[in-house]
Structure formats: structure tokens, C-alpha cells
Homo-oligomer: 456 residues x 2
């Protein structure tokens, strides 16, 4: 039986296995689900052992365990480290789910469940691709190591430390991750760049107490005005970031990449209407995809100060607060961004106000070595399964752990995603298209099969 | 027993009564306190009836009731209409109160409680001044009518209509209000001008849902940015209001008044340090007192949008909101101010945003007939109680209803205030100085005693 026939013959059984995996409410953000998280890890460990992987175990971290397993019997062949995560996002608001989040169901050619696309479903494709190779060829064409973690949805806080301490065990030639998306149905996509993240808060203070606007209005500074002025000072009227030195480390994008972006034929008008926007917005001189993928941002995520209740309160607020994040691009470093913003604030703090910046989490941007044969080969594997040429894109989001893997292991990171833009990742009615369940498994099997030749 | 001895002998008892009044959380802005507001009105009605006033009743309005009571047994003598309010401001932020806002306590010679100075404490002075006259002279020297309302802190929206329908009942020769302040301890002050108020909310909307800042950051507008830009556009960097036409109706102040302001010898540096400010702030070219009393303002009282919780949420908020008020001066009208701001917003709405302005309550500015004997006599009454000459000032605050009384009743409005600048009106730890509780009651008793002669 060949690979395709095996996958077809066993599809029903494989879907049942995936459903069993999706039934674990492994929500890492909620301590009430601690046992579900552990049970899910245990399930994957046993599943991998049953498929023929060796050394299957739960490796302890300072948080949830990492599922490890390997098969290292392809001497002289490359070793692939497969990363995925078995934890999922919370499910609220629950009433918005058509069917319960942990009772998987197929409707309209899609699997509905929390984790269906992010990331249990996508990780499971690797299990089935490798199972098919085991079953049809009796062995694997490459060496395999798994690193399936349980804290991705809460920021992978303990993984960097764990990886540093276990760097030897995770040595490999290629890191393969399926946790990203395709730009559209039938448009296989390789994400080769991710933006980094720099988070901080701004705290503005003026008087030692809130003041009455009748008694003091006109004589004293207002913390909300000061914060608004500061926020307005971060961009010019057209949307350019005006923080001195902010763009110093931004590397330019190659003409080839820009052409590739243009070739994607992004429809600005369709994008605008899909979000219900009066107009798109952003840095002049750059296309929407450039702005989303290769340009940095500085955004306020939340703001509060003064009276928020019903009606009127004639107060001059003594303090105001904002939460901000920057998406950063190669070769911007969080440290540099923090420093340029701190200098900007020093220079632009309105008279009568005191401003404090509190640093929060940050992660570096990452771009894979685009021309690496391990990445180029991914495009061919997609093409073989989907029958169309694969697209190389960059992504606007951040997977902070990618940069950690790169720094510790110095190996190319291949992001082969199978999600779709409308699969409600992190939202109610999360789902995963059956078509990509089928073609994704094949794509990954082809990838593993041909990788040794590709890397020769 | 003479008046002074009566007040001294009964001070403990009077303070206990005031404490009972201050215990009602009669917050008119919050519908959850509806019953507290009504209970407070009931308490005052009963208190006035017990003192010897007649026709004590709660007069219904379209909002909270007005407490009415009268004593009309001084034929041929003037009738004084006493206005006050029994509603109070909200109490947030609650953690900043040293003791709970509705559990009155005396510390450092001050009564601490929400409403202590604004306006339960000051209104209560009239009750006790008149009680002392009843008890020591067996009758009052003037006729008295009370109008104690319950919606002053939310703009007295229903009072004008109510007064129009009840104009006959409230006919009087003088309107007396204690809801303003003294310029400093031991400096009795008659306020002869008030700023008006124009309140509104701004609502900014962008996308139809909150967006992920990784996926969409750089491509789309951010409602908080748009709101911050709009707020920043209301003033120039030095603090001038930049709304076109905003100052059109502002009348100039006489040289005599300006000289009177200068004669007060306002100490900017002491003012700055008393509020804990890095710097004072406001329109260049005007002294602090001018800015506080005779120049209009435009202030944000509250702002909110996006994520306000702990940690980071990488969201591009679809909406943001601000609450604003203007203090306006003669002859600015609320309608003109709303219109100029609406035009400003139309012109300055950032691309990609929709902005809605919601009008809230408003009130006109007011200047009393300074030379009227009812006002000049107030200065003498202060002098008799405090032993120093009284000061005539204008005030930065608003008692919108003053302008309505003037328009409907055509009588002089006498603003005899007993608050102090540091009594945290509208803020945590509101308080009222015991000294002014004592001297204020006497001042008012003297005022009532001598008014018939003053008006002859």
C-alpha cells in the first residue's frame, strides 16, 4: 500500500484519534485545568510510543511538562526537531460556541473544537505523516525528535530556560513547526519571518490628588491631556512612527521579497470591508502587506484614567495610564526600542506631568534563511500535495520561542502552516478545514521523504 | 441665652446631626444609589419640619425630588430663598480615602466625608443658623423658603423645568446659596461670578471588532490613537484652546476687576506646591486667577478603551471613549460651544475613525449684581463673624442653576461660601473645616438678622 492509500484507508481512524486529543480541555491559562493539561501530555506521550517512537517521556519544566520522543535510526540522515504545543486558549465567551469547545464535531467540511487548528490539529498532522511512513516503508527517512510543549498560549515562559539546560538533547538539523496559517484555501504558505514584540506601560502623574475642574480648571495640568499628547506624539498625522532612532535597526527588504508580496495580489478593499473599517491606516509609502509584515508598529492596546462611570464627573485626573506594544522587525532589538521610546518620552513629556515607562515582556523578530534548502524543499512538498505553487509570506505576529530555538540551536526554522484566516484561532468556534487535514498530512510526509535529498 | 452661646452649647449635638446627614450615600450619578438619594431627601424634610419650618415636603421633579419648606411669618420683611443640594459626587477611587466616605470622622480640625463641604455641610449651616434664631428669639427676622435639590452633581437637568412650573412658590427677594469657597482660611469670600459648564462624551469607533495586533498591526486604524490625536488637537503645546470660534463670545474683564484680582496677591508657587505639581499649566498671557475665573477651559475628565487588566493583551481596540467638560465664561453659551467643538471634530477626525459627540448637561455662566445691598450686607455679616474684611472674588466653578434662578425670579443671588481650597471637593478625603462650620453658622445668622435693615 502506498502512502496516499494508507492515509485514505485510515482517515476515519485518524480523525477519531484527533477527536480524542481535542477532548482534553488543556487550557494552560487556567489553573483549574492543571490536571487536564497533564492528562493531555500523557495522551500524546503514549500515542507517540504506540506509533513506534522511542524514549517517549514527559520532561519536567518549571511549568507544564514537555512531551519528548525520538526515532534516531536513520544514520547519516538529517535530524528534524518537530515543535508543537498541546495547550489551548481559554474558551470564553462560551455562549458564542455553536457546539461545546471540547466536543469535536465535523460540520461543513471543518473540524470544530478548541485546539483544532491551534495547535493540536496541526501538530497531529506530523504524527500521522510519520505513522504513514512507518507503516508503508517500515522506517523513517530522517531522524526525528519531538518537543511538544504545554505553555505556548501563556508565553512559553519556562521553555527558554528548559531548552538551554537540554540543548544537547534537542540538537537537530532542522526545526519544523506547524503553527501558522495559509493565506487562503488552496494557497499553501510558508511563513519565513515573524515580527518581535516589545510591551510596556506608560504612567502619567500630575497633581497629588484629583482636582475639581471648576476650582482648578485652567490653572493646572491634566494627566489625561498629557498622556494623549504623548500618545499623539508617537506618530505623525499620516501614521509614521516619529520616535527618533526607532527605525535605526530596520533592515531593508529585498526587491525579490517585495515582488513576492506584490505577486500575492492583496486586495486592500476586500480587507478593509472585511474588518468594517472606514479606511485602512498606516505608514505612507508602504503597501498593506509590507506594513503588516516588514514594518514595525507602536500601538496602544489599552488606556484608562479619570472618571469612567455613568454621567459626568468634573474632575481633573491626577493620573492616566496606557498599555502599549510594538511589533518589531529585523534587526530591531527590544533593548534599542525601549531606549528610543524612553528618550522620546523624556523629550516629549508635557510640562507639569511626570511620566514613567514600565517594561513588560519582549521577544525578538525572526527571519528564517529563506534560501536554505530545508525551506525551499518545503515549497516543493506543498506543491506536490496541493498541486499549486507554494507562497512565501512573512507574518505580522510573533512566536517568541522561534527566536530562542534559533539562538540556542543555530538551525533553520521551517514554518509549514495549515491554518486558514477564518478558523477563529483564540475565538469561539475554532475549527480546522478537513481539506488541510488531508493535504497537510501528505505535505508533511512528502517533506520528510525528500528532505535527505534536498539537504545533500 | 444669646445666639453665640446657643450655638456653642449645642455644637456636639449639631455635629451629630450633620454626621447623620453625611452618612447617606446620596450619589446622584449612580442609579444604584437611587434609594439613598431619596432617603437623604426624606431626612432633610423631617429635619426642617422638626426645626419649626412649615409645609415641609418632597416636591417631585422628573428626576430626584426637591426638598421644600418655608416659614412665612415675618410680614413686611424680605423673603430669602435658600438653595442647596443634598446629592453628592461619586467616591471612586475608593482606596484613596483615609476613612470610608460615608463614615464621617473628625481629624485635625476637619470633618471628613463625601459631601462634607459640597454641599451637605454648607447647606446644614443655614439649618443651624435659623435654628439658633428660632431658639433664641422665638422667631425669624425674615421669611424663609428652602429649595434643596438632589441633582446638582449631575447638572440639575430637571430643575429649570421644575422652577418654571413652580415660579410662584419660589418667589423671594434674595436667593442665598452656600456652595462656594473662601480663598484661604480666615479669608471670608463672596463669590460674585461663576463659570458655566458644558459636558459631553466622545466615542471613537474603527473596526467592527477588536483586532489582533500581530495579524493587523500596521494596516488598520487604532481607536485609542484616534481619540488621543483628537484630544491633543484641542489645545496647542502651551495650553491655548485651539477650537475655532471657541472664544468668540468671551467678554473682556474690566480694569477694576483685574486690579482686584491682582490685589488678592495670589501666590502661584504656594498654589503649585499645595497641589504637588511639577508646574502650573494653562493659557499664556493670563494670570492664574484670570485662568481660573474668567477664562474658559476644555478638560478631559475620564478616558477608557481597550485592555485595562493585568499584563499584556495584544489587541488593537475598536473603540475608545472620553468624558469632557468645558468651563465657560460670560457671554459664552453652551449651544455655541457644542457647535464649535462639533465642527472641530468634523475637521480633525483622524482617517479611519468615526467619532460621535454625545451632549450632556450644560449651564450658562453668571455674574451677580455686585453693588446690590443684599450682597454688600453679606460682606458685613462675614466681617462680624470672622473679624476681617470679606473679599469679593469670582469663582471657577459652576452652579448652573444660578443662571436659571436669575432668569426666572429676577432677584439678586448671594453666594456666601465656606469651603476651603484644600477640602478635596469631588475627590477622595473630602472635608470641611470645623472653624468654618462654627463661624459659617454665625455669619449666616448675622446675615439673616441684619438683612431687613440692609434692604431698607
Amino acid at each position: 500500500m502506498n502512502l496516499e492509500a494508507y492515509l485514505e484507508a485510515n482517515e476515519k481512524e485518524h480523525l477519531q484519534q484527533l477527536f480524542n486529543l481535542l477532548r482534553f480541555p488543556s487550557i494552560s491559562a487556567l489553573s483549574a485545568h492543571k490536571n487536564d493539561v497533564l492528562a493531555c501530555a500523557e495522551f500524546i506521550k503514549n500515542h507517540l510510543a504506540n506509533l513506534g517512537f522511542e524514549n517517549a517521556e514527559l520532561l519536567p519544566t518549571k511549568g507544564n511538562p514537555v512531551v519528548y520522543a525520538d526515532w534516531l535510526h536513520a544514520p547519516g540522515q538529517p535530524t528534524v526537531l518537530v515543535y508543537g504545543h498541546y495547550d489551548v486558549q481559554p474558551v470564553d465567551p462560551l455562549p458564542l460556541w455553536t457546539t461545546p469547545p471540547f466536543e469535536p464535531e465535523i460540520r461543513d467540511g471543518r473540524i470544530f473544537a478548541r485546539g483544532a487548528t491551534d495547535d493540536k490539529g496541526q501538530t497531529f498532522l506530523h504524527f500521522k505523516a510519520l505513522e504513514a511512513l512507518f507503516q508503508t516503508e517500515g522506517k523513517l527517512p530522517v531522524n526525528i525528535k519531538f518537543c511538544i510543549e504545554g505553555e505556548e498560549e501563556i508565553g512559553s515562559a519556562h521553555l527558554p530556560d528548559f531548552l538551554e539546560k537540554n540543548a544537547e538533547r534537542f540538537q537537530a538539523d532542522v526545526l519544523l513547526i506547524s503553527d501558522t496559517g495559509m493565506i487562503a484555501p488552496g494557497r499553501p504558505t510558508i511563513c519565513y519571518g515573524l515580527r518581535g514584540l516589545v510591551a510596556f506601560e506608560l504612567h502619567v502623574e500630575t497633581a497629588k490628588r484629583d482636582l475639581h475642574s471648576g476650582e482648578h480648571g485652567g490653572g493646572v495640568p491634566n494627566a489625561i491631556h498629557a498622556l494623549a499628547e504623548l500618545i499623539a506624539s508617537f506618530h505623525d498625522a499620516e501614521g509614521r512612527i516619529t520616535v527618533d532612532g526607532f527605525h535605526d535597526q530596520v533592515t531593508s527588504v529585498t526587491a525579490e521579497e517585495l515582488q513576492a508580496f506584490r505577486d500575492l495580489g492583496h486586495d486592500d478593499e476586500a480587507y478593509r470591508t472585511s474588518l468594517g473599517l472606514p479606511a485602512l491606516h498606516g505608514e505612507p509609502g508602504f503597501s498593506t502587506l509590507e506594513r503588516l509584515w516588514v514594518r514595525p508598529t507602536l500601538e496602544v492596546n489599552g488606556i484608562y484614567g479619570g472618571f469612567q462611570g455613568e454621567g459626568t464627573k468634573t474632575v481633573i485626573p491626577r493620573e492616566a495610564h496606557a498599555k502599549l506594544t510594538c511589533r518589531i522587525v529585523p534587526d530591531q532589538t527590544p533593548e534599542h526600542i525601549y531606549q528610543t521610546i524612553e528618550r522620546h518620552i523624556e523629550k516629549h513629556t508635557p510640562k507639569g506631568a511626570r511620566v514613567t515607562l514600565t517594561r513588560q515582556d519582549s521577544g525578538r523578530p525572526y527571519v528564517t534563511p529563506f534560501h536554505h534548502p530545508a525551506i525551499q524543499w518545503a515549497a516543493k512538498a506543498y506543491e506536490k500535495a496541493y498541486g499549486v505553487e507554494a507562497t512565501f509570506t512573512r507574518g505580522g505576529g510573533s512566536i517568541p520561542i522561534v527566536e530562542t530555538f534559533d539562538r540556542l540551536l543555530h538551525i533553520p526554522v521551517v514554518l509549514m502552516g495549515f491554518g486558514l484566516p477564518d478558523e477563529n484561532m483564540h475565538a469561539p468556534d475554532e475549527n480546522f478545514a478537513l481539506e488541510n487535514f488531508r493535504l497537510g498530512t501528505r505535505t508533511l510526509a512528502y517533506y520528510y521523504q525528500g528532505l535527505p535529498d534536498a539537504l545533500k
